[in-house]
Amino acid sequence: MRVLIRHESILLLVVIIALFTLSIQAEQFATIENLLNQGRFLTEVSLVALIMTFVIVTGGIDLSVGSILGLSAIILGVAWKKMGLPLPVAIGVALSVGTLAGLFNGIIITRFRVPPLIATLATLALYRGLAEGISQARSIRGYPDWFFILGQGELLGVPTQLWIVAFFTIFTGFILGYTTWGRATYAIGANEIAARFSGIAVNKTKLFIYSASGFAAALAGVIFVSRVSTTRSDMGMGLELDAITAVVLGGTSIFGGKGTIIGTVFGLLLIQTLKNGLSLAGVKSDGTYVAIGFVLILTLLISNLFNRSSEG
């Protein structure tokens, strides 16, 4: 019974109902081709949301991920086209800049004890501003063909980036669920002072998590550029709220200390299912946002109701 009323189980049920209803409503929905193609659109937000799960489990939040995505995309374009670096090196530079941007968030949060919401709100403006300033709002295109394998190609019949997401999912799920790192993440979110006293390197763990968040956003940026064949400074705007929605929908408590990777995965699946299914059923894309908003609030209401009755 306990397993049945867990948030993840309720969510899985909702996903199944949505999939079932939508495949009746729209014939094109339940085709393998469509589902795999949807995976492409899901990649960027998934990478960010998986690490965001760690961030929120520690009781923090990272609003700057969308801006880091944009900044990394611009750095990639500028390093390759303007500075003439070989593309693989430029990718490396973009990933490093993203990771450093995340590390910088972590330093502000741990060393200067600025609340994560405020710290990343400030860097949201800063990183997006750097992207705009460096690019002077000009887009960069003309990447070599091999680069598009990442965002548009296939490997064994599955879109390339889905392999990356799959690897990321298993990796992060393992870390959060089965390692001391994962336990430390929960401990920090549940009670930071207690975690400190029990010898957990709180600051080091947080620094690492925020850097990882920056890295994931940068990787998402590189894949984004490869998928749409161009670099623009407004890439990834609003991504942070999409990612947070998925994580929270997945049952991670915004107060920290609670949450799972599998929950986040279900949250992502539900959002993308709704987006794609409803649009195939003839609802305009903006209408799907209304549905996502209602699902977010209702799922949490129901889940809270069950949890309260099981506790009381």
């Binding site: 405020i118 915004i254 996502i292 908003g293 609030i297 949490l300 309260r308």
Partner: protein, 326 residues
């Protein structure tokens, strides 16, 4: 430390004043320094109607930030404020165009804003779901709903007398006047009434507030409703300042409003801050944005510079707070 200050003479009074209104003083002095420096580089900055225009164009952000400050002081937040302003502006404009009396068009956003936010407040208080999550969902609903309904069309051809924000009163634009008026009233209410003090108690120490007889749940719902009212006021200014109402609002408007509150000295942990701070922060940031253009900085670097400024204000504030708590 506070007791020591209270006992003291005039010098102590000054340091108490400094401790209580530190952030407001910092903002005000930065603004004065900014005006002096920029007017040296480009005298046109202070001339003509420039300041009046800058402040009026951003007054709606300041009004929304008053509501946001009330919420944040109680330990809550609203990330749907940008989307709500968009929805309310459309309602406001549609009513004006459809021939309803102007006062109904102006009144509607205030009422609808209060209703929407009361619902949010009700879910937050009685279902125990964190406000950031509920308003995240609300943002999705409002933003998606708005575009689905309007199809992205603009509203034009409002009657002449609709444009409240373009009027002048005593030589000052109405939006700026509204901002000053609302800030003064809210500052008084929040520092001198039981209701105002209860807001700080709810955010500062909810357990203590509960045991001293404050109804936490009702207090939170009321704070949301008042915030909704201010979003309504902000909408009137926003919707009547231009001759068109687009079905979009400036991107990241909610973050701009939250930033103004926080930079104004409202702690995101709840329990502290004043609306004077949030209003000063709004005006300061509007002034900085404009002065960068006046001294010839490329518009593409504006956001980066604003980011650095926000970051340094936050860091300076943290340092000041830590010193104060020692």
């Amino acid at each position: 430390m506070n007791n020591l200050l209270r006992k003291g003479n005039r010098g102590k009074f000054f340091s108490k004043f400094l401790a209580n209104y530190g952030q407001e003083i910092v903002l005000l002095s930065s603004m004065i320094i900014l005006f002096i420096v920029v007017s040296q580089v480009n005298p046109r900055f202070l001339g003509g109607n420039n300041l009046n225009t800058i402040f009026s164009g951003n007054a709606y952000i300041g009004v929304a930030a008053i509501g946001m400050s009330i919420l944040i002081i109680t330990g809550n937040i609203d990330v749907s404020v940008g989307a709500l302003i968009g929805v309310l502006a459309t309602i406001c404009g549609t009513l004006a165009v459809s021939g309803y009396p102007i006062w109904i068009a102006w009144f509607a956003p205030v009422v609808v804003g209060m209703i929407v936010n009361s619902i949010v407040g009700f879910i937050v208080a009685y279902a125990g779901i964190p406000s950031i999550v509920v308003t995240l969902g609300m943002m999705s609903i409002l933003r998606g709903g708005l575009i689905s309904v309007t199809g992205g069309d603009w509203i034009t051809d409002m009657p002449e007398e609709f444009f409240l924000a373009q009027q002048n009163f005593l030589g000052i634009r109405v939006p700026l006047l509204t901002l000053i008026f609302l800030t003064t009233i809210m500052f008084y209410l929040m520092s001198n009434t039981t209701w105002g003090r209860s807001l700080y108690a709810i955010g500062g120490n909810s357990e203590a507030a509960r045991t001293s007889g404050i109804d936490l749940k009702r207090g939170v719902v009321l704070a949301f409703a008042i915030h909704g009212m201010f979003v309504g006021f902000a909408t009137i200014l926003f919707a009547t300042q231009l001759n068109i109402i687009a079905s979009t609002v400036p991107p990241n408007l909610e973050l701009t409003v939250i930033t103004a509150s926080v930079i104004g000295g409202v702690s995101i942990m709840g329990g502290t801050g004043t609306v004077i701070g949030s209003t000063l922060a709004t005006i300061l940031f509007a002034a900085i944005g404009s002065s960068l253009i006046f001294i010839g900085v490329s518009a593409y670097w504006l956001r980066a510079i604003m980011g650095i400024l926000i970051l340094s204000t936050v860091l300076a504030d943290m340092a000041r707070r830590r010193r104060a708590s020692l």
